[in-house]
Amino acid sequence: MARITLETLRHAYMRNPRAREDFALHSVDIEWEDGGAYALLGPSGCGKTTLLNIISGLLRPSEGRVLFDGEDVTRRRPDQRNIAQVFQFPVIYDTMTVRENLAFPLRNRGVAEADIAARVAEIGTMLELDDMMDSRAAGLTADSKQKISLGRGLVRQDVAAILFDEPLTVIDPHLKWKLRSKLRELHQRLRVTMIYVTHDQTEALTFADQVVVMSAGEIVQLGTPEALFERPHHTFVGHFIGSPGMNLLPARVAGGRVTIETGAGDPGHQAGAATEVVGDTAIAVANPAAGDGPAEIGVRPEFVRLAGEGEPGLQAALVKVSDTGRHRIAETRVGRHTVRLLVAEGQGVPEAPRLVLDPARTFLYRDGWLAGEAR
């Protein structure tokens, strides 16, 4: 077990990277606490797998250092780093039985046969592979094969960390849930650092204590699921996490006053709607709004409500109300911008509602980042 530190990592897959786009990872600095359960969340192609492969040693970063408990391991091979990794698609050794597959990482490290047998039996039982331990791994279903891959990742007890690269992609939904709970349970028991890569926010939020959100080769936020939800550090986190995602409205700051640019009079907006918004509207935000210039306002649908009788609010026009099963979502337009909000079961939404944005949960963003927050 180890604390893993990544220092100013950059990685490019080409030989002489110049432009920012040449890099798959730019300037990643992060510390993974020993024994933590982390999820690495981000859309496809954002550099999650690259980052994971750099931690395990399959890739050597173009720049920067990887430290395990303060010791530089950047140039060490995966077996010297003593790390386990499970891949997206099942990898099994066709020539071996299930039992031999599970024992393989231990045998390669010269573990005593008696210990191997005990450990393999334990992992086999945990993954419910008991009745197929002595059959050839080649003939099994994708589900079982992926369980074997998982098993090979879990079988070593002394690893610095276990890395999972979207390990449940090929697994059946009901089994997926079960295996994820198993991994969670195993983490509670072993307290080994686990890093779980996924692009599925539900998977990330249910597995991890800490979620690391990546976008376009950099880490945009590290925090608990609650923090990511309540105070997104980047507009990307706002719309990637949560369903539906954060509302974003273009705004302008002038002398500490934040106004939403509603785009009134624009031919693109709902001309036939009952009410048209004219002019810009002042908005209260939770973070400091120093410095003049263009910015963005972000507020989650959960923190927007309909104004009461006589209460002032942002004038909007209702587009539609849809029911997702979990909530009812009202889609409205403020000028030419869409604002979604959650409405309670049975609550009526007028054709021309006025919206109140919770000032404690409404944030100002500059160039995508939360204004006034150190990165």
Partner: protein
């Protein structure tokens, strides 16, 4: 009464005709010759299974079959491991991949009689680079007189000509292995040998089955190159089955015995191919 769809025959007819003229009719002609005696002038007499009995008891046939099995065994034992080894050494990606592939394909593109002629000239003790070079280096080498030297030359020629085929097949098999397998092996701490034994070899099994079958059949039927290179000599030292068959059919014009030998030759090729295939695909579902 069941009505049959007569128009269906029209659709099958082209293939039937093609197979008939391509395979069935020539084969039946051989079967026809194999049970008759001929003295020329298109006069034939029924001779039953006489030629088959004669062939199976003939020392000349046994010797040719023995030489044939030895030749095929030797070249399979060299070309398969060598081909796999070369494929493993080839770059997996980058600009050198196409260069290697073209270099590998070159021997396969040369007409077979030219291959024979090239090696004949190369190995000639008086003028050939190889033959003259060996003799100049003090090694007595003359493939036109020494049976051992003749065998070394034909084996070397076949290895040069056909190992590429095994390389290309093995390379295709290796290219199809996803990177995740190599990555998992590195994480699991597998040795280079384990990677070969447990990942590369099993993943190459299908293409290697094809390589074994192709190399077995082609080498078992080899004629052109050896005919040009040694003509079956010195003596009968390199007279393999096909060379012996041509001597019988065209040299001595013994149509009946040659036809019987063709059939036996064909059946042996078929049987051994089937055996290889069955053994190599055993245990697959």
């Amino acid at each position: 009464m069941r009505r049959t769809n007569q128009i269906g025959w029209l659709f099958v007819a082209p293939v039937l005709l093609l197979v008939a003229f391509n395979a069935l009719i020539p084969l039946m002609t051989v079967v026809n010759y194999s049970v008759q005696e001929s003295f020329g002038d298109n006069v034939f007499f029924w001779s039953g299974l006489q030629w088959f009995e004669q062939l199976l008891n003939e020392d000349r046939f046994h010797a040719a079959l023995g030489r044939q099995l030895m030749f095929t065994g030797i070249i399979l034992a060299i070309e398969l491991p060598l081909g796999v080894a070369i494929a493993l050494c080839m770059p997996k990606k980058g600009p050198f991949v196409p260069v290697c592939l073209v270099l590998m394909a070159l021997p396969l593109l040369i007409p077979w009689n030219v291959v024979g002629a090239m090696w004949n000239i190369l190995a000639l003790p008086e003028i050939g680079l190889l033959g003259y070079g060996l003799n100049a280096a003090g090694i007595d080498f003359n493939f036109t007189q020494s049976p051992v030297d003749a065998w070394i030359t034909i084996v070397a020629m076949d290895v040069w000509h056909w190992t590429s085929l095994v390389v290309l097949l093995a390379f295709a098999g290796l290219s199809a292995i996803p990177d995740a397998y190599y990555q998992a092996a590195r994480i699991d701490g597998a040795s280079r040998w384990s990677v070969f034994r447990h990942i590369e070899l099993p993943k190459m099994k299908r293409v290697l089955t094809i390589a074994v079958l192709l190399r077995f059949m082609d080498s078992f039927m080899i004629y052109t190159e050896i005919s040009v290179l040694t003509g079956g000599g010195p003596g009968n030292a390199t007279t393999l089955l096909s060379i012996d068959l041509v001597k019988k059919a065209l040299g001595q014009f013994d149509l009946g015995p040659a036809a019987a030998m063709s059939l036996v030759y064909f059946l042996i090729t078929l049987l051994v191919s089937w055996l290889f295939y069955t053994l190599m695909t055993r245990g697959e579902q």
